[in-house]
């Protein structure tokens, strides 16, 4: 059975986005996972955390550490994504002016997650929320 860790994220709380990714990193380091893989997981989780902070009301990150891979599920309650294919396009962003002023909103988050993980799956319902699932193999 895999080890499961869960972290909560609040919408708008950018200063705490990054907590989940740094905890996940600590665990992966103690499991002696290759640093290059760790970096990819950290980048992907961080981007997902920021998306919850930037676009949703609240959410959670669940990480499942298995023997050969880590699976991450990020669930949020928020506006949802109407056109997932469009959202995945590098450079596409609906980020508000405030979010942009904080240095986010380049529209690179989702494509960055896709690039760094093995299989990204997005499920979303407009007006309800989004579920992001991805995995990273240890080798």
């Amino acid at each position: 059975m895999a080890l499961e860790l869960v972290f909560q994220i609040e919408g708008g709380d950018f200063s705490n986005a990054g907590k989940a990714s740094s905890q996940i990193k600590k665990v992966l380091k103690q499991l002696n996972i290759d640093t290059r893989i760790i970096k990819r997981v950290v980048v992907a989780v961080y981007e997902a955390e920021v998306n919850v902070a930037a676009h949703a009301h609240r959410g959670q990150v669940k990480a499942l550490f298995g023997e050969t891979e880590v699976e991450v599920v990020v669930t949020d309650q928020g506006p949802g994504i109407e056109n997932i294919e469009q959202a995945m396009q590098p450079g596409y962003s609906t980020a508000s002016k405030e979010v942009r002023e904080m240095g986010f909103g380049a529209g690179m988050g989702l494509s960055n997650i896709a690039k760094n993980t093995d299989n990204l799956h997005i499920e979303s319902e407009v007006g309800k929320g989004t579920i992001l699932t991805f995995r990273c193999n240890y080798s």
Binding site: M1, A2, L3, L5, S21, S22, K25, V27, K29, Q30, L31, N32, I33, T35, I38, K39, V42, V43, Y46, F65, G66, E67, Y138
Partner: protein, 455 residues
């Protein structure tokens, strides 16, 4: 990794230590546990930063003593010290008087380790060209090198494969004396260390076969001796010993002392806890592109070394003033000794990773242990009280899965187990005595930390 013992200059005086836990809470690598009432240091985790010594209210930590006694064995007795040594003395003592006192102590030659600084800096800069991906990390502070080896092993390849300023000065001194007709076996090189980290590095170099230094001197001890020997007036001209010292050399061991040599993108971070935070980011590529990273374990760099006397900010202030009186490094060109000869000797091996925080080399077992840790943490109170002899609940959980501690070491769980009749009260007491020492339950009105001793 395990097996080979790691040399440390820091020791605990078990007569003085009473297990107050201050050191344990501040140690950046969680290397300390309380066993039998006193602090014990895990030799694989300790990086010799000296924070435990700073935090100790009763001076129970000490740094290994001098190897001054055998200076008489040598005809040429060279003392090497970093500039911060001069910076500790109040300005009423001129550097000439300090130098004279060193001669009185029996040394024949005096070198500050930062001369000729330019030679080493050039060599360090050159090494950045061998690096595939930046930034180049300074190898100056041995506590940081050891920290990176154990906690950030993937960053070891960024550490400059170059030796320290004291190696520069040692090779420079030897070449100079040889030119004057000295035989290498007649030369004794004595290095005055500002800290336990440099002491450990000299006694057990990280990336070289053996050290060029004959003996290490504890700077605090030397300071006291010099204070007793200071002449009332300068009688000899010692300025010749300082002819290759430069402005940049004097500032080298202070914050930005190295980074300022890199015109482009460089950063300097002092204080090991700050360094830890930064390295976490660097490891995730969460920092801007940098060419050079200067990392020093002590706040205010070596001016804050644990073997220095006085206030670190005053030391920095004095050195900044002193530096202004010296020429720029580029204006200094030592005659006779060939730069290339010395530079060749300053190249060291690459620093090897030595990860110590991995739970188990076998991933399946590591994962099992991780699950157990998380399980145990559900039962621990989470208040990090250190009553178990570990710095926090998480560290105790780790110790338990590694077979180094038991659930009953937690004083909260112990109470619960007593209530549930799972543990007998006298067993519980014996367990506490194992961690906190036999006399812990005796009344003692003079005990340390007892009465308003808010240290």
């Amino acid at each position: 990794m395990k097996g080979k013992t790691k040399y440390h200059a820091l020791k605990v005086d078990t007569e003085k230590c009473f297990g107050c836990t201050h050191c344990m809470k501040i140690c950046p690598t969680e290397a300390i546990r309380i066993v039998d009432g006193v602090a014990t240091i895990d030799q694989y985790r300790c990086v010799d930063c000296g924070n435990c010594l700073r935090a100790c209210p009763v001076d129970a930590f000490y740094v290994e003593q001098n190897q001054l006694s055998h200076i008489e064995d040598f005809k040429y007795r060279v003392v090497l010290f970093p500039s911060v040594f001069i910076g500790q003395f109040s300005e009423i003592y001129s550097e000439g008087r300090i130098y004279e006192a060193l001669l009185r102590l029996g040394f024949t030659h005096i070198f500050e380790v930062e001369q000729p600084a330019l030679w080493l800096m050039e060599s360090i800069k050159e090494s950045s060209q061998e690096l595939a991906e930046g930034p180049l990390i300074s190898s100056f502070c041995p506590a940081i090198v050891r920290l990176i080896q154990s906690k950030y092993p993937s960053l070891t390849r960024n550490i400059a494969p170059r030796k320290a300023p004291h190696d520069l000065a040692a090779h420079f001194a030897i070449e100079q004396l040889k030119m004057q007709g000295a035989n290498e076996s007649e030369i004794g090189i004595f290095y005055v260390s500002p800290c336990s980290a440099k002491m450990a590095a000299v006694n057990q170099p990280v990336a070289e076969k053996e050290s060029i230094v004959t003996g290490v001197i504890n700077m605090k001890d030397l300071y006291n001796r010099i204070m007793r020997l200071l002449p009332a007036n300068e009688t000899t001209d010692t300025s010749g010993f300082r002819q290759y010292l430069s402005r940049e050399g004097i500032l080298w061991s202070l914050p930005r002392g190295e980074a300022s040599w890199f015109k482009k993108r460089s950063m300097a971070i002092d204080g090991i806890h700050n360094v830890v935070k930064f390295l976490e980011r660097l490891e995730n590529d969460e920092v801007p592109k940098l060419d050079f990273l200067e990392l020093k374990s002590c706040n205010q760099g070596c001016a804050g070394g644990i073997l220095l006397t006085g206030n670190r900010f005053l030391t920095v202030e004095r050195l900044q003033k002193r530096a202004l009186r010296y020429p720029k490094a580029s204006q200094i060109n030592p005659e006779g000794v060939r730069k290339e000869t010395v530079q060749k000797k300053l190249i060291s091996d690459n620093v090897e990773p030595r990860p110590v925080f991995v739970l188990d080399q076998d991933r399946t077992r590591a994962l099992e242990k991780m699950k157990k840790i998380n399980n145990i943490l559900c039962h621990l109170p989470g208040i990090d009280c250190a009553g178990c002899g570990a710095p926090n609940c998480h560290a105790l959980a780790e110790d338990i899965v590694q077979g180094k501690a038991r659930m009953t070491d937690c004083i909260f769980l112990q109470n619960k187990f007593i209530k549930e009749l799972k543990v007998k009260p006298d067993k519980a007491c014996a367990n506490l005595e194992r961690i906190w020492g036999k006399k812990r339950f005796e009344a003692d009105c003079n005990k340390k930390g007892g009465r308003n001793e808010g240290f």
